[in-house]
Symmetry: C2
Subunit: 359 residues, 2 copies
């Protein structure tokens, strides 16, 4: 464990560690302090199970283990599929002191987390994210939930894990496209409030693309720390937490408009950040050079720097059902510079229209 770091995240009454490093999923000591009773249910999916489930089971061999293997993909992030977790818990008579372990990407983490939040009104869970996106995004903030046919992530709960175990070795089996999608969120943290991270990314994007462990650990740690700083100040997303939605209002519209699964979440967020940059430049808030730096970094990470051609009208329609709409008024996260994001609902509608019409 020489190449690992631990970040402690504090939320009001609750605090938990994020362990980041190579080979951690095989370390019993990462899990054991966070398990209360002997009963531990492992939840994963059919892609991740053959790769990593045996390692986790070996690490936890002293416990009474059960497992649920879900189908893989955002299309299965539904109440109906989540019911498989409830059913397994009830069939095996899991009580309130039991523990769930989420082994997989964001979909597994969100569903397992919501199952933990709602089974018997709340049991404990440990997150073992195996994608870069879930390591930098879902590890902090306690957001759990499922999709609804009428909207993404519309049903869920805030529920903090007992611990997060982010093993960079699991990224070696990640498809290139998913690695890039994860980097989109890392870039996002640079844009929101961490210009030092943004510059570091400009200088280390090739190491990251080559999955250099030390670079990955740094990027994950910095992203989680940045997110924790924002979230800790605002656990319930009343104010500053909305900054984390940079690129997401546009991004969700892209995902919904294309149908879930066509674009990866991170790809949609990347295009959404490019759109936010474009709009910020039109508002005179962001220089042409910074707009260019953003697009360049996205391209270096093999990410899209523009959305698909949905048309302005479709975009507007898709955006108005988004969670970020407050009482009918659209709020967007925009940029006043790299590392200087703001929440705004005070922009000329023409500017939004111009950005949407560009594509």
């Amino acid at each position: 464990m020489s190449d690992s770091v631990t970040l402690q995240v504090d939320f009001g009454e609750r605090s938990y560690p994020i362990h980041i490093g190579a080979g951690l999923i095989s370390q019993p000591d990462c899990y054991k302090p966070h398990i209360q009773s002997r009963k531990v249910m492992l939840v994963t999916n059919e892609t991740v199970a053959p790769l990593y489930l045996a390692k986790v089971k070996t690490a936890l061999s002293e416990f009474d283990l059960d497992e649920v293997i879900l189908p893989d993909g955002e299309a299965y992030k539904t109440l109906a599929v989540m019911d498989q977790i409830y059913t397994a818990l009830l069939q095996k008579r899991y009580d309130r002191n039991s523990t769930l372990i989420a082994l997989g990407g964001g979909v597994v983490g969100d569903m397992t987390g919501f199952a933990a939040a709602s089974y018997q009104r709340g049991i404990r869970f440990i997150q073992v994210p195996t994608t870069l996106l879930s390591q930098v995004d879902s590890s902090v903030g306690g957001k759990t939930g499922v999709n609804h046919p009428l909207g993404k992530n519309m049903i869920g709960a805030f529920h903090q894990p007992q611990a997060v175990i982010a093993d960079t070795d699991t990224l070696n089996t990640l498809p290139d496209r998913e690695l890039s999608a994860g980097l989109a969120e890392v870039i996002k943290y640079g844009l929101i409030n961490d210009p030092t991270l943004f510059t570091w990314l400009e200088n280390h994007i090739h190491q990251l693309m080559q999955r250099d462990p030390a670079a990955l650990i740094h990027a994950i740690e910095r992203s989680c720390a940045d997110k924790a700083t924002i979230v800790a100040a605002d656990e319930k997303e009343a104010g500053q937490r909305a900054l984390l939605n940079l690129g997401h209002t546009f991004g969700h519209a892209i995902e919904t408009g294309m149908g879930y699964g066509e674009w990866l979440h991170g790809e949609a967020v990347a295009a959404g950040m490019a759109m936010a940059a474009d709009m910020s430049h039109r508002l005179g808030w962001l220089s042409a050079m910074d707009d260019q730096r953003i697009r360049q970094l996205l391209r270096s990470a093999s990410l899209p720097d523009q959305p698909p051609s949905l048309g302005a009208e479709t975009f507007l329609d898709l955006m108005s059902i988004d969670k970020k709409v407050m009482d009918g008024k659209l709020r967007l996260v925009l940029l006043q510079g790299i590392g200087q994001s703001i929440i705004s609902q005070d922009f000329p509608f023409d500017c939004l229209q111009a950005t949407l019409s560009r594509y």
Copy 2:
């Protein structure tokens, strides 16, 4: 509103009023301070809607109202039926500042509350309980949720309402059997820690059975206050809150064993309290006279004072899947006197067996 009282309930960061009185559902002022945006979704069922929905709509006529009318009955307290609420909220584009109003009994309250807890990870809701059971039980404690085919109330969340409006006039349309079922919970509060309430009930049971408004207001207020005292000390049910399960471990076994809907919840709890009294008497903790007083009061309220003949083995099997089982060890709420309940997992198994075998 001369004949009404307001009880303030405090839970950590959250506090809310319970208004109790005749005619309150028609009073706009009971609702208005608790609604944030113009969008208000009324959730009720097909039995309650024709009786009271118009009154609530008139009281809230200045808001943008929508409604969801669910089928009536415990059998419909499921994730699938709850999805009707999510769908309506999404179709009508309800955002995070919207308000849900639950108009009906415990099933409507629990489902609407869980929908509010989980829609966009939490929106506000107001409870308008129209049964005695829901007025004295669901008004306090923030428990929301649905049933699972494998267990009652197994999926849910803790989510406090913004306000509770308990209108005693709505009890005039309540079937006799449901009035009695509600009184079972009132009797429970007397048994748990309020001997004064128990004695008052012995002296006023006939007024309550005749639906005397003043007697009802007193019984509801006292029950809510008693429950609030217990819950406030222990919002997450780690300790003393389990006292509220007096009669419930046996009662849930009866409900599950008979199939949901055969016995009303309150009837099962009444029989469960009689079983707890029987067992407490066998343990030498409760006098024969107090055991008799309990049975007598249950009978005066037209409630069962014994369970159906399920057989000891079936009972044990049904009880071991109950939420109150801690890590495999059965905990029961028993009586050391009227108004003196305790949580115990330290009793001879023979005593439990003897009580279960008696019926």
